[in-house]
Amino acid sequence: MLGLLAVGSTAAALSAAPPIHPTAAVLTGGSDPGVWDTGLAAGFPWHRVRAQRGLRNGWTPFVETSAALLTRWRPAVGVSLPWINRVWRLSGEATLGWLEQGGTLSERGPSASLAMTMGRTRGVVLPYLHAGSEHTLHIDRVIIDTAAGDVIEDAPRHGWTLTGALGLGIALGGRWGLDVGLDLPWVNVPKVSLPGVHLGLQFGGAR
């Protein structure tokens, strides 16, 4: 950790003015036009990988994959857009993805989410907050073999997960950063979920 901090001795600021630091871009949404930023986070129970590239007017498409205990996977594509981009950053983002959960409680289906992220970009430390709502369509199918042919009965179900996180990002120079955070999801409301923790690494700035 100290070594990584030493890398950041040049102490690039997280200022929202271009160039947007990769840590600010990944954690609070929105990269500079034409710039790639990536993030990687590992923790319990969640792991995440994300890559994004800024377009004009702040629109930033991204791809990401999250996994809980490497059992509940959700790859997704999405787009984020900063609404406020000053010392305080506030962004909205939407994703379309696929939920694939193995194990005893296996389930799968298409999912979509809406989320907001906000953070304060001053100095080298970035406190951030994420809140979102993710919806998955599950279809339980029964295939009945009858004398007249197969009869298919589909029973759709709605799975609802509230996503949340809060943490601190730290710039380590102009192209690297890391964050530590609490993951506060409520998976499959109203069932009980425990919070998680993660350590993340961000890298970017490449065109």
Partner: protein, 143 residues
């Protein structure tokens, strides 16, 4: 669109897929007692289900009622994924109409019986079943 229909038909996007077989069972249920009338409760069971220590007979699948002993014509959807072996039809005649087989305060002579549905698996089968054993739950008819 064609590939989406194919994916859908294969069930690739489904959270779970259960395979069942629809069987129509007809025939006749009679009772050895002299008090016909009322409802006869009919249920179907895997003859055996499970492996090792979890293996057990007469695994319940589904139930229905028919009006009284006599002609039988019922249809059940039988789960086919769990590895159940054989199919047994069990029935009891609710002579006192209280909905409980040989209830503690009711008729203690209500008749029961079971018959194997053969051959299995099949789309249709005909059975002849005579209810002759008093107060016996389905578990007592392990094949």
């Amino acid at each position: 669109m064609r590939w989406m229909a194919l994916v859908s038909s294969l069930g690739i996007g489904c959270s779970s897929i259960t395979n069942e077989k629809r069987v129509r069972i007809d025939g006749r249920i009679d009772t050895t007692d002299d008090l016909p009338g009322g409802v006869t409760y009919v249920s179907v069971h895997h003859a055996w289900l499970g492996e090792g220590l979890l293996r057990h007979p007469m695994a319940f699948i589904d139930a229905t009622t028919v009006e009284q002993p006599g002609d039988l014509d019922v249809t059940f959807d039988i789960p086919m994924d769990a590895g159940g072996e054989g199919l047994v039809l069990y029935a009891w005649h609710d002579r006192d109409g209280d909905g409980v087989l040989c209830s503690i305060d009711g008729d203690r002579g209500e008749r029961t019986g079971a018959v194997a549905v053969t051959p299995w698996p099949t789309y249709s089968a005909t059975v002849e079943l005579t209810l002759a054993v008093p107060c016996a739950g389905p578990e007592t008819f392990a094949p």
